[in-house]
């Protein structure tokens, strides 16, 4: 096998040094009743070429672009990924390195992640960002646990307009802790209704998502003021589409204490949902209660600038059970991809691209409305929105699959109250022509 270098001769020489008669004898110190007696029941090894054929064949069954037009977002977005990102990520110095424990020979990873932290801060208008969390969902769960650590309160509130799967992950993380999660309702406009907030008692944190799951842009500025009526409560803003912040006021500018969300849109393939990138940023004063790895700038013996892992005293390998989180890695390669992507876009580019996403989605929204299919919500949206379809659309939806169109996400399983609604998404990868084609089909 081409990954296993030893020849028979190598093995014999090494066994002699070790003092074992054969490979099995290497394990003779393991008690016999702990040794596996049967062979593993695994398939015959495939050659490189058989594997290629097998994987190509499996992948061919998937309904992915460019063969399918997928008008579905809901936390996973199809954006173009520049070829340079793909090729630079394949540089093995990036992708085969581990956690930069030895900074002298890890400055590539370290400077990149330092740049990542900086760009994330600039994107979100926040003071400090960590080197990333697993994904948007667990990032939100960790953010809410952080509000509990920071305030020593026991309850958090989460908007029902937050991605339903993120809320499930929050539930899972909170279940064994004894802390409480309450849900904030959605108003008629599709935004979170904060009118009942003051009745909920002492809250450690309140989490809104913007654009929220329905694509609606929350009025974060006003929300921040309402939430901060209780000065101790932390305002957590989540997101699943960071590209929105090319155009929208940043969470930091709206008073967020913690901003967290999913960074997949920034140069990371959708890959059936993972890996993603948990972007996570906070105000300076909370830095020592933040979970996750941090990279800091320092100098070497000769006074030369360099970068290191820092504030590790928050982390589990030092603090063990007292750590701010059990997370001990980051999404290194995904954060690297996002850094490359943000660098390629630039400030000018992100604005243009963000606008184009929104404008194309608005075009679809308007076109559907013209065809009689309107949104139940009035709030402005970014690149996705909810639309109500007449009875029988589920069949139309199914029929459109045959035409290689996935016409949005049915909301019934997630929001029974919106069982006749679909969540539609348009990014820069879907042209006006493709939008017109969808509208024509739907209008039939």
């Amino acid at each position: 096998m081409r990954y296993l270098p030893h020849t028979e001769e190598d093995i014999q020489q090494m066994l002699q040094v070790v003092g074992a008669t054969d490979l099995e004898a290497l394990f003779s110190s393991i008690p016999d009743d702990c040794r596996r007696k049967d062979e593993m029941n695994l398939p015959e090894p495939l050659t490189e070429w058989e594997l290629n054929g097998h994987m190509d064949c499996m992948a061919a069954s998937m309904g992915a672009p460019p063969f399918y037009k997928v008008f579905m977002g809901a936390g996973s977005y199809h954006h173009y990924i520049p070829e340079i990102t793909r090729q630079l990520l394949l540089r093995s110095e990036f992708f085969t390195a581990y956690t930069p424990y030895q900074p002298e020979i890890s400055q590539g990873t370290l400077q990149t992640i330092y740049e990542y932290q900086t760009l994330v801060c600039r994107l979100l208008g926040m003071d400090v960002a960590n080197a990333s969390m697993y994904d948007g969902a667990s990032g939100l769960a960790e953010a809410l646990l952080m509000t509990i650590r920071a305030t020593r309160r026991k309850k958090v509130a989460v908007s029902r307009a937050v991605h339903p799967m993120y809320r499930k992950v929050v539930e899972t993380y909170f279940a064994p802790t004894g802390f409480e999660v309450v849900e904030l309702p959605v108003g008629a406009d599709g935004r979170t209704d904060l009118s009942g907030l003051s009745d909920l008692g002492e809250l450690a944190g309140v989490a809104l998502q913007s654009p929220n799951f329905f694509g609606c842009i929350e009025d974060l500025e006003t929300a921040g003021k309402v939430i901060h009526a209780d000065k101790k409560t932390l305002f957590v803003t989540a997101f699943s589409e960071p590209l929105a912040y090319g155009l929208l006021k940043s969470p930091g500018a709206c008073g967020a204490d913690i901003a967290c969300g999913e960074g997949q849109s920034f140069g990371i393939p959708q890959s059936f949902g993972g890996p993603g990138l948990g972007m996570f940023a906070a105000n300076q004063k909370y830095v020592r209660t933040m979970p996750g790895r941090l990279i800091g700038k320092t100098t070497d013996r000769d006074g030369k600038t360099g970068f290191v892992l820092t504030l590790a005293t928050r982390e589990q390998h030092i603090r063990r059970e007292k750590a701010t989180s059990n997370i001990c890695s980051n999404q290194g390669l995904c954060a690297t991809a996002a850094t490359m992507y943000m660098a390629s876009l630039g400030g000018t580019g992100i604005r243009e691209l963000s606008r184009l996403n929104r404008d194309r989605a608005e075009y679809l929204k308007a076109s559907l409305a013209k065809a009689g299919h309107t949104s139940p919500f009035s709030a402005p949206t970014f690149n996705e929105f909810v639309v109500r379809f007449p009875d029988g659309f589920a069949d139309t939806w199914q029929a459109l699959l045959e035409k290689k169109i996935v016409a949005g996400l049915h909301l019934a399983p997630y929001y029974p109250e919106l069982s006749d609604c679909w969540l539609m998404c348009v990014t820069e990868t879907i042209s006006k022509t493709a939008i017109d084609a969808l509208v024509k089909e739907v209008a039939k």
């Binding site: 270098p5 070790v18 090894p45 994987m55 579905m72 956690t99 890996p275």
Partner: protein, 473 residues
Amino acid sequence: FNEPLLWEKGSPGRKGLSLPRRDVEEAPLDDALAGDGPDFPDLSELDVVRHFTKLSQWNFGVDSGMYPLGSCTMKYNPKTNERQASIPGFAGAHPLLPESLSQGALELMHDLQGYLGEITGLPAVTLQPAAGSQGELTGMLIFAAYHKNKGQQRTKVLIPDTAHGTNPASAALCGFKAVGVKSGPEGILLPESVAELMDEDTAGIMITNPNTLGLFEDNIRQVADIVHQKGGLVYGDGANMNAAMGIVNFGDIGVDVMHLNLHKTMSTPHGGGGPGAGPVCVTPELDPFLPVPRVVKDGKVYRLVEDYPLSVGKVHAFYGNFSILLRAYSYILSLGKDLKTASQYAVLNANYIKEKLKSHYHLPYDRPCMHECVFTDKHQQEHHVATLDIAKRLMDHGFHPPTIYFPLVVSGAIMIEPTESESKETLDQFIDAMGQIAREALECPECLHESPQFPKVRRLDETAAARNPCLKG
């Protein structure tokens, strides 16, 4: 040569990304919602390419040379896995596609579950955890859910002193109090120490086996029996599975829950710290508690099923790090039963290094090791040379240093894990370098204090970094 930070480069208006043609009109947006957009630098494509090319050149990876970072299993990351992960059908797949359009991905996940179940001996598997530490958390959630279902709320978890720091952190995140268990004089757990601490308020024990000293926990069966007798569960930290594929069936020896680190044992790229994947394998009894959705085969069709009322819930927005799972699947299909050979070579390589270096470095536990061996700086300390100096000097020889000062139970630990990918020639070169450093410790300790000499930067001031953190530019 230096490479400026991204925002020290560029010029406003420069373009690095090809923007799609605008084909629709601009839609108005309420001023109150609109921001100024982030202050990102504007760069050309070549600016970006050169920047990251240069940064990459300051990094050491598995392809750069031997990376014997103990407990991290820095084996070769096969290139074909990257090819598979980039197939458009997989890379471009939306996670919420209808089942009819995602059979390939579901089949892959289903079969991978089966393979991991077979490898560990624990047949019920979730692929959802995004990393080993999240796998541990999932395992602890299962502990809690299991006891809750029995109508109990246990408050403690036993954790040996040789455990990774994530074990207590994961237990704590789940509301358990971590209770330490001292390992015995041979570096392994003694049944009596466990018996002393195990009670009916204790949810179970977390054991890394082989442990972080690279030793097999010989008493695992007795320990498991003690824990099970008190109604507890046994968690196996599978971080060191690379020693044991085809060698040990963890289900058979009493382990109830076990996570795997696919970026260790299953060769997925380490990526400068992630993404990993931390599937959790459990006994059939614990199957109902696994996270949802579950991938099941229904006749000839693969489906995602949510309906498991005892499930701990979800730990990932979708199904985990699918493209990492895909790479592990590719690796398993490429090796098949040769996975056992991989484990054998990994153990052979570690023992070879142990035998060759024990005349130079103090070996606190001189017995056959598994996939890694732990030395200390005891001999070198006499010459004021510490583990850190030895580690840094290795860089000057073109090797990545081993894991140092871990496990904590050994003072000045030097934890070497070669993995099966390294050839005998490479091991001999490493042994030679370590031998030279041992001699240098006698003859020129200051040479070691001044190392490394060759990388881009020399020893960095980590204290200053933590005292006045500068976390962005």
